[in-house]
């Protein structure tokens, strides 16, 4: 049966019509689902008994609690959620002073095959529905303390754009959670057609996984570069206004001897010249079998200082949850999927 939780107002109107309920019941259902935080259809007390009976016969409520949590020494928590019978996804909860960020997954696995990412090593298994994306937030024990959500967990959000947009709509609409779009960031490797749609259909921040300003080098790290070329991606970004509330940032993992040289500083400066943006430098968290190493701290600091001196706002992201494999690029449920496979 379909889940009620995760449906947009438009979809709830269709549900109401099928249930023979007045169309304003859709708004009532949305209020129960996204503002009153109930977890049972019977708690929708302003919906008629007959209407609730119809809903119970045709829909499940649709909340799935995490099945496991791992806690890092630094306070980061990695939650494991089931997807169907044999699949899993992870979400990372990252408290930090007065902020608490949840990094959510948008797919089980990923098709993008980036050389530095653990999720890519498990291949692609499924797209998450808006219900499954939002459930990571709704079923989080620390939900009340969340200040930010980033779509930077497992999967490529632009490869599952419809469900990502639906979840964003529910998070930001006044009939939904009513969050400010400024509290949400969606990351992408740069899938051009979907990026265009995303920029036009949502108001949340965008982060591009960059990792090299040079196409030939980027394509050895990120196969997507063979299809959607960096100059076209940057050109698309430049065609929108990022000087107001909405922010564009560039994620840049520092690889020793690969993308951390003065030539790369100059390349980034040329590429992003005049664009109101921020570069987030990220230490590389090593994964099994990788030929890549993280740049040393001194190189990272120099790289950051040079970019800032050239007028590109550059920050270094703190590494969090590395001891529980919750840090950037480390989320993976490949081993769990393998364990669940029947013998033979």
């Amino acid at each position: 049966m379909e889940a009620l939780y995760g449906k947009t107002l438009e979809e709830l109107k269709e549900v109401a019509a099928r249930a023979g309920l007045p169309s304003f019941s859709a708004k009532q259902m949305a209020t129960w689902l996204y503002q009153k935080h109930i977890n049972d259809i019977d708690q929708m007390t302003d919906i008629s008994k007959k209407g609730r009976d119809y809903l119970k016969q045709n829909y499940i409520f649709g909340l799935t609690p995490p099945v496991k949590v791992q806690v890092s020494a630094d306070g980061t928590k990695k939650y494991l959620y089931t997807h169907g019978e044999r699949r899993y996804i992870e979400a990372a909860y990252i408290p930090d002073d007065d902020r608490a960020t949840l990094c959510v997954s948008s797919q089980v696995g990923c098709k993008m095959g980036c050389l530095f990412c653990m999720t890519g090593k498990q291949g692609f298994q499924a797209n998450l529905t808006s219900n499954e994306i939002l459930n990571q937030i709704r079923s989080l024990p620390e939900r009340e303390s969340l200040t930010n959500v980033v779509y930077m967990g497992m999967g490529e959000p632009m490869d599952n754009l419809d469900n990502v947009l639906k979840s964003l709509s529910i998070l930001t609409a006044e009939w939904g959670y009513g969050w400010s779009p400024k509290r949400i960031t969606v990351s992408t490797v740069g899938i051009l057609p979907a990026m265009k749609d995303f920029i036009e259909k949502s108001q949340v921040h965008l982060a591009l996984s960059l990792h090299s300003p040079f196409e030939d080098e980027r394509k050895t790290l990120m196969p997507v570069e063979n299809v959607y070329h960096l100059p076209e991606v940057i050109s698309l970004i430049r065609s929108y206004d990022w000087s107001r509330q909405r922010r564009i940032s560039f994620e840049y993992i520092m690889f020793k001897g690969i993308n951390d040289t003065p030539r790369h500083v100059n390349g980034l400066t040329r590429l992003l010249n005049g664009l109101p943006c921020r570069i987030n430098l990220i230490r590389f968290h090593s994964i099994p079998g990788t030929p890549l190493e993280s740049s040393d701290e001194e190189t990272i600091k120099e790289f950051k200082d040079k970019l800032n001196a050239k007028g590109i706002l550059t920050t270094l992201r703190a590494s969090r949850g590395q001891d529980i494999y919750a840090a950037c690029g480390l989320l993976s449920t490949k081993e769990l999927v393998k364990k669940q496979k029947p013998e033979g």
Partner: protein, 220 residues
């Protein structure tokens, strides 16, 4: 007119053939030059969805050819598989950088990921190259006839669910793990599913191929 930032034209379908169950070859009239290994957007019908496909025809051939398998409940392939010669589809100018640098290379493909290598072979970019192609059964080795007749070319077919003379018994990854010693300086071009590409890439890196000599094209 543009489709995903690329100029498009209405191409006439010249040929359609189901070469294996649910696997189709389509040929269209051609309006643009291209480099072997590139892709194009295909849209059908006029208001339908657009998807990227690798070009399988050679650079000098007067048509574009694509290879695709029908995705159950897919938005495009079920209708594209029914298009008839004489009908029109929207085609974009070619795009993509999954191209051979002219040096001898090793090609590794599974499924419809063979298409860019067919284009390279038909363009003449095969001398001293090697192809490792994976398939479940005999009829999964699409375009095998193109590769079997190439001179100065090594062709390995890895078959995982049947046995047969002339085939390596097992998956592409089994062959690379147990029977392949790569030349690290040689470029390796990988095309297919994300799972195959990342697994093969890790194996090659483990055998000493520098990661910047491994170029991957993933179908998504």
């Amino acid at each position: 007119m543009k489709m995903n930032n690329k100029t498009v034209y209405k191409a006439r379908v010249l040929f359609r053939e189901e070469i294996a169950k649910g696997v189709f070859v389509l040929r269209f009239t051609r309006d643009f030059p291209f480099k072997a290994g590139q892709m194009l957007w295909v849209r059908y019908p006029d208001d339908g969805p657009a998807r990227l496909y690798s070009i399988a025809s050679g650079e000098e051939e007067p048509f574009f050819e694509i290879l695709f398998d029908v995705v159950e409940n897919g938005a495009l392939t079920p209708v594209l598989s029914k298009v008839l010669p004489g009908e029109s589809v929207w085609i974009s100018e070619p795009t993509g950088k999954f191209t051979n640098n002219g040096e001898p290379a090793v090609w590794i493909a599974t499924g419809t990921g063979i298409a860019p290598f067919v284009s390279m072979a038909r363009t003449g970019l095969f001398h001293h190259n090697m192809l490792i192609q994976g398939g479940r059964s005999r009829n999964s080795f699409y375009y095998h006839e193109v590769f079997e007749k190439l001179p100065f070319f090594r062709y390995v077919k890895c078959m995982s669910r049947e046995t047969g003379e002339g085939y390596f018994q097992g998956r592409v990854t089994d062959f690379i793990k147990n029977s392949y010693q790569p030349l690290p300086e040689r470029q390796h071009l990988l095309c297919g599913s994300a799972e195959m590409v990342v697994e093969v890439r890790d194996l090659l890196i483990g055998k000493g191929v520098p990661f910047n000599n491994i170029i991957s094209e993933i179908y998504f």
